[in-house]
Every structure is written in C-alpha cells, then in structure tokens.
Amino acid sequence: MTRDRSLYSRRQVLSLGRKALLVLGVGSIYPVSRYLRGKEDTLAIARIPSSELPLHGDWQRLGQTRFWLRQGNEGVEAMWASCTHLGCEVSFDARRDQWVCPCHGSLYSRDGQPVIGPAVNPLVRAEVKEKDGAYLLQQPPV
C-alpha cells in the first residue's frame, strides 16, 4: 500500500479543516450581520438634511437626484421624476404648472396625472421618511 510520505496525517488534516471552518464561521459573523441589518438606511438612495432644503409649497428638486419634494398637507411628498413612457427625466415647469418630458413631449399635471401622451400612466411617488433631521428616500418600483 502507500508509503507514509506525507507531512500530515489524515487526522491532522481533518482537525486543521475543522479549525479553518471555525475561523471562517466566526469571521463571517460581522459581515453577515452588517449585511442583514443594512436594510432601511443604506438602501435609501438619497439622504438630505432637512435644514439644507427648506421646503416651500412647490415641487423642488433634491440635489443631483431624480427626487422632487414638496411640503404637502400631510407631510413631505416626493415624486420620482421619470417619465412613465420610456423613463426620460421629467422636470417640473412652475410657469406652466406641469411636468414636462423632453423626449416625447409627455405632459403631466402638478400632481403627476398624465395630460398629453405618449405617457398614459401617472408619475410615481416615492416614499419619504424623516429620520434624525434628514429626508430618506428610496427609488420606487417602476
């Protein structure tokens, strides 16, 4: 049969493997717990301190994002400014009191209802959470 030329016996290799598994298991506790706890805050795409963005009545764009905010009757509202036709970025034209899509000319009312096609669906609202003096926003399912 085979001559024993190896440095380690089978038993030693298995015990080494067990120790390696233990180290791997303990070592993965921190990353896995960070990953599992990372749900709400980290998934928010935008986080803007409320003091930086004093809200008045009209829609206003939030930093370099596609979120537009306004102070509604029941708290802060957010609009996800993507055209529901093909996803171009729409912007609110305060003079016309309408949302305008630059690509195919869709128009929406100030509440996001489609006025002129090709878009047929209303603009999508995003959920806003106010936490620790900041607005947290998540990209809505579109």
Partner: protein
Amino acid sequence: MGKTGNDSFMGHIRPSQIRAGALRLRATFCLGGFSFLAFIVLAITGVLLLFYYQPGDRAFASLSELDSALPYGGLIRSLHFWAGQLMVITVFLHMVRVVWSGAYRPLKELNWVTGVVLFLLTVMLDYSGYLLRGGQESGSAATVGQALFTALPGGKALATVFFGRPSPLNGSTLSMFVWHVFILAGAVSFLQMFHFWRIRRGGGVRPL
C-alpha cells in the same frame, strides 16, 4: 472494504475504514469534493441573497441596490456568482475523471446515472440563475431558452411551466425563481446525499 461501522449515517460520513489508495489526491483530484464545497457556498450565499432579491420587474433594480448600497452585498453576490461558475466546471471535470478511470462500470452504474442527472440539474441551475439577474442579457437568454423548449414535443406547455412569462427585456420571473431556489436546488441537495451514500455502497474509490 469492510462494512463494519459504516452502516449508520455518521458511519457513512466518517467511515472507520476506507481504502488507503482512495485518499491519494490522484485518485479523484477531489473534484466531487470541490463541487460539493461550491454547492455549500452557493447555498449559504443564496439564502443571504434571498433577504433582498425581488424576482420579476424589480430583479435588476434590487440587485443594483444590493451591489451598491448594502454593506458586503457585492461580496456575497460575487461569491454566489463565482461559486456557481466553479461548480459547473468542477462537476464537468469530475465526470471526465469518472469516465477516464472507468468508474461508471458495474456496482457504480447507478451512481453514474445519478451523476449525469446532477450535472444536468447543475447546468439548469446556472442557466436559471443567469435569467434571475434580470438584465437585458437575461431577457435574450430567456428568449433563446424558450425557443429551444418549444422545439420539444409538448414543449410549449413545458416552457410555460419553467419560464412563466418572461419579457424579452428581463428574463426574471417568479416561476424561474421558484425553480432555481426550491425545486432545482432541492433536487440537487437530495440527489447529492444519495450520490455520496452510493460511493460507499459501490465499493468506494479505487486509485487510478
């Protein structure tokens, strides 16, 4: 090979006696072992991905968030991807080794058939995982796969069961998700246990 002490469950996992030659690396190159290791990594990272993945229209968006916003999300997703690639390769090489050393011959023919089924399941898992990414490439792959299915007799019904109704822009559907996560993965883990048990029943590994 002595059967003493090998009949219990633990006895199969850690038998008191095995062939000395089977321990040599050259006997197996440990390819089945690597495949199983990849499967364990896939199972663990797969469960972790389930916490955030959303099948269907949100597939691509949820994975982008996982990559960019979640701590260690990209690492876990990459581990799942690379372990999947590794598993397909090692399972294939494992089959080549078995053919090379003639280990499909009697006493082991049932295990060879089981292994072939496991290989097919592995490829289907890899394919369905590719669709679940929900990118444009997934939509194209789904279109090709559906067309292949419909070439079979009764293939249209089969394709509907397997794919659901994927849009050509996004291959991810709930049906594909159920197949990937529960049915295919479950079948693989069950058949693997049988496969390992049959190794000992078939007389273990002989050196090349």
